[in-house]
């Protein structure tokens, strides 16, 4: 509905008013950047875990929008998949671990706020100083966006460089890719996964009954007290007989 009215309105606007050409790239950049910043501030200021997670998701999604705007589609999709999807899990775990009341509220003390504000603002100052000191970031770099596909990236991870002049055309040698770092990271992640599964698995506790069973098994092996096994039964048979007698009453 909104888009339809927008469609009808725009030509009228163009015919009636002399509107300066809009550089959509800048407009969208400002839009996404301000969204990311606003929601990042929201994460800090909110005192409810789930609202924080929501703002975090919006902030990260706006960052993904910035990536898409820059033509880095793979990174953008990755951002959506890993960070936004990861926040989802964070949210679930956060709610499960912290929820004691229906709506969890986190209110830091004034001292905490002051400390966090100090640390955060000093970091921000350092970052800003660093960012402003880079010359090539001072002017808008709106060159031609020739988005490389994800294929050279994937091939480079498999050990073949097909991009750029380093592809080994002159020397005939195949340029090195990133197979080794990729494999190291993969193995590392696998180890982490196995470790997580080990830590999170349901631990088998030794219940008293199983300890008894183990003890009786030991005694059976020893062969000294074979009587012990049937000896464990009298209470049960007693209760059964009590039931029977109760029934007969």
């Amino acid at each position: 509905m909104i888009s339809l009215s927008g469609m009808l309105m725009t030509p009228v606007l163009a015919a009636g008013l002399p509107v300066a050409a809009i550089n959509w790239h800048s407009v969208l950049f400002l839009l996404f950047a301000s969204l990311a910043s606003i929601f990042a501030v929201g994460v800090v200021l909110a005192d409810n875990v789930v609202r924080m997670a929501l703002y975090l998701v919006f902030s990260l999604a706006a960052t993904a929008g910035l990536f898409f705007l820059a033509g880095a589609e793979f990174i953008g999709a990755m951002q959506l998949m890993i960070y936004v999807g990861g926040t989802l899990v964070l949210l679930v775990v956060g709610v499960m671990l912290t929820a004691q009341a229906p709506f969890v509220s986190i209110k830091p003390s004034a001292a905490d706020r002051a400390l966090a504000g100090l640390a955060g603002s000093s970091l921000l100052v350092v970052l800003l100083a660093a960012a402003l000191s880079v010359d090539s970031w001072q002017r808008p770099g709106l060159g031609e966006v020739t988005a490389p596909t994800a294929t050279p990236l994937g091939m480079a991870l498999l050990g073949m460089r097909v991009d750029g002049p380093a592809a080994g055309a002159a020397t005939g040698a195949v340029a090195n890719g990133y197979l080794l770092p990729f494999e190291i990271v993969s193995i590392h992640l696998l180890v982490v996964l196995v470790g997580a599964a080990y830590l999170a698995r349901a631990k088998r506790r030794r219940t008293p009954r199983s300890i008894d069973a183990a003890a009786s098994a030991v005694s059976v092996v020893e062969g000294s007290e074979r009587v012990e096994l049937p000896a464990a039964r009298p209470p049960r048979s007693g209760s059964a007989s009590a039931l029977v007698s109760g029934g007969s009453k």
Binding site: S3, L4, G6, M7, T10, P11, A14, A21, I22, N23, W24, H25, L28, N48, V50, R51, L54, V57, L69, G71, E73, F74, G76, A77, M78, L80, M81, V84, G85, L88, V89, L91, V92, V95, M96, P102, F103, L142, E144, V145, T146, A147, P148, T149, A150, T151, P152, M155, V162, A167, G168, A169
Partner: protein, 402 residues
Amino acid sequence: MAAFLINSVELPEWLAWTITALVAAALILNVIAGGALAFIWAERKIAARIQDRLGPTRTGGRFGWLQSLADGIKLLAKEDLMPDGADGMLFRIAPYVSFCASFCAFIALPFAFDFVGQRLNVGVFFVIAVLGLEVFGVILAGYASASKWSLFGAMREAAQVVSYEVPLGMCVVVPVMLAGSMDLVTIAEKQAGWLTNWYLFHDPFTFVIFWVYVTCAVASVNRAPFDLAEAESELVAGFHTEYSGLRWSFFFMAEYASMFLVSALAAILFMGGWNGPVPLAALAGFSEGTGDTAHYLVRVVGLANLLTKATLGVLFMMWIRWTLPRLRIDQVMTTCLKYCTPIAAAMFAGAMLWQLAFPGGLIPGLARPAGEIREGWLEGPGGQSAPVVVPSVDGTVAKAVR
């Protein structure tokens, strides 16, 4: 279309891009909303027939054509209630989060060769990533409702969707591997030609993995027999227990949109996309240079092909919904982790080995389209590797591209 507006109508570039974006958005919105209307009617009729009933018969003529419209009016007129204890902001925003996630995934979904909102060279990845975000709205809804049923439903949904993303991702990787690209347009174009070129019939492994994909897709869009999040026999209505009216209907539009989306994705990945079972265009002598009108006609036929396949997929989902009983949550997890994931992994390895063993296909007569060229990257350095240049929203860039 932007190029057409700039060159023929001579609009300024920023305006041309705005109009193009708005038209694309409006079209996608209409696909979602119109699709939901049609599918809700179809679901009512199919459920009724499977249960030996008639379903809607009166509203709007003999077959109850207008039943969905009547439902919509009822939902519009219904009061949007919110529980007293609910977290108001989260409660209100949750349906829109779900709906936006579904909507965003449609942006990268091609409906025919040129008919795509924004062609991304990582289209599959994008669609899968965005589709996973739909669950976020569900979790928010479950949490914000301040109801135990809702929270249970949301937690189940979170566990289920996060688990099923693993085998779903593995299934999707197989067509990506065969096509050598994550671009949905490229993947579908690789399957042009006769029926036998579809990746479904590429080798036995892809045939099996297609069914794994179907299972995971049904689970990831939260349809029966995997609709644990709203299991009405246990959780009243699960995550949307407290919702009514328009907000509730947004959840359902999102659900039907996702169903359509995963079906269309299945059609593109495994069943040739917009390529029909018989290459009519090629038989009729159309080629790329035949002319604009014929060209356009081929696209429209392709669109009809894709919509038919996707609709069949949605109808298939309805069929199994009304046929199979709901699984328990532990059975759902077992299906995912003990069956779908290992099968998908084995089939992935199998498809890879098959491709190595029979690169030209098993039967020589049914050879695939020549080349198996993968964006030119195996043709050596200096070969004709043409990077896909993606026009951004910036007008100047687009002009440079064209």
